[in-house]
Amino acid sequence: MSEPVTALGGATFEGAVTITERPAQGMITIRADLSSAKIVKALTDVAGVAMPAMRGAVTSADTGLLWMSPDEAMLLCPYAESTETVAALNTALTGEHALIVDVSDARAVFRLEGSACREVLAKVTPADLREQSLPVGELRRTRMAQVAAALRFLDNTTVELICFRSVASYMFKLLSTAAAPSAQVDYRF
């Protein structure tokens, strides 16, 4: 198998926060009725983690499940195992109305680290970034300036952000500008 190449080759930026492009991550989009017990069982069996609640995410090491909408979930797995995970999901969901797509190569993942994460993100998204509106662990799909993104606070100073691979360069430049040391406003959330 060929070597996976990320959109920006692991680019990093040091500023108000440290921005890093993450290594390739296996991601599988599942569209199915998440209120069905049979579908939930299939997803949790394959992912090996519990089903997240609304807006939630359950992850452990390399695998996880993200709640994207009432009929959409994203399964995280090691990049090299995405093809067999799709096959396992297709087997587990035989006879169910479901759509399973490997989107690993269509996404880019960034990590922001630093105490100014909420401030930096608030400059480029309309989402309410106060902790009471976006608590740690919750997945928020929103807009970052011109492009769609999903972000999740892993803890109060670490954010994982997923966007389309085609806009990875835009996203990185956008976040770098927002996190430029001279652009800090020291907003207290």
């Binding site: 009432p70 959409e72 309309p126 989402a127 807009r143």
Partner: protein, 109 residues
């Protein structure tokens, strides 16, 4: 700016995360219908100063369509509710009746 709560995800959304879909609770008139009904379905839209029911789509997120009851004059939002319905739920109508006494509306049949 409008801030609307998506009934499917429970998130307070900024107007720029949404896509406007025009008037809600239109009854579709397709083939076999009269020309007048079809014209009214295609072109005739209410433009009230006051209580209005609209369709909005959570475009940057769940992608779901939902309905909003709001006031076009004050931008007050009375509530949002899922789109799988032909008429506004009673609790939304109760809120409007309380805040806009005397308000009436032609309930879709």
């Amino acid at each position: 700016m409008l801030t609307l709560k998506c009934p499917y995800t429970g998130i307070m959304l900024d107007e720029s995360e949404l896509e406007a879909g025009g008037e809600a609770h239109l009854k579709r008139y397709g083939p076999e219908s009269s020309d007048d009904d079809f014209e009214s379905y295609l072109f005739m839209r209410k433009n009230p100063k006051g209580v209005h029911f609209e369709r909005w789509r959570h475009a940057y997120g769940s992608g779901k369509w939902f309905h909003v009851a709001r006031c076009t004059q004050t931008l007050e939002v009375f509530g949002t509710y899922p789109a799988q319905t032909l008429k506004p739920p009673q609790e939304i109508l109760d809120i409007i009746a309380e805040k806009r006494p005397g308000w009436s509306w032609d309930m879709p049949s």
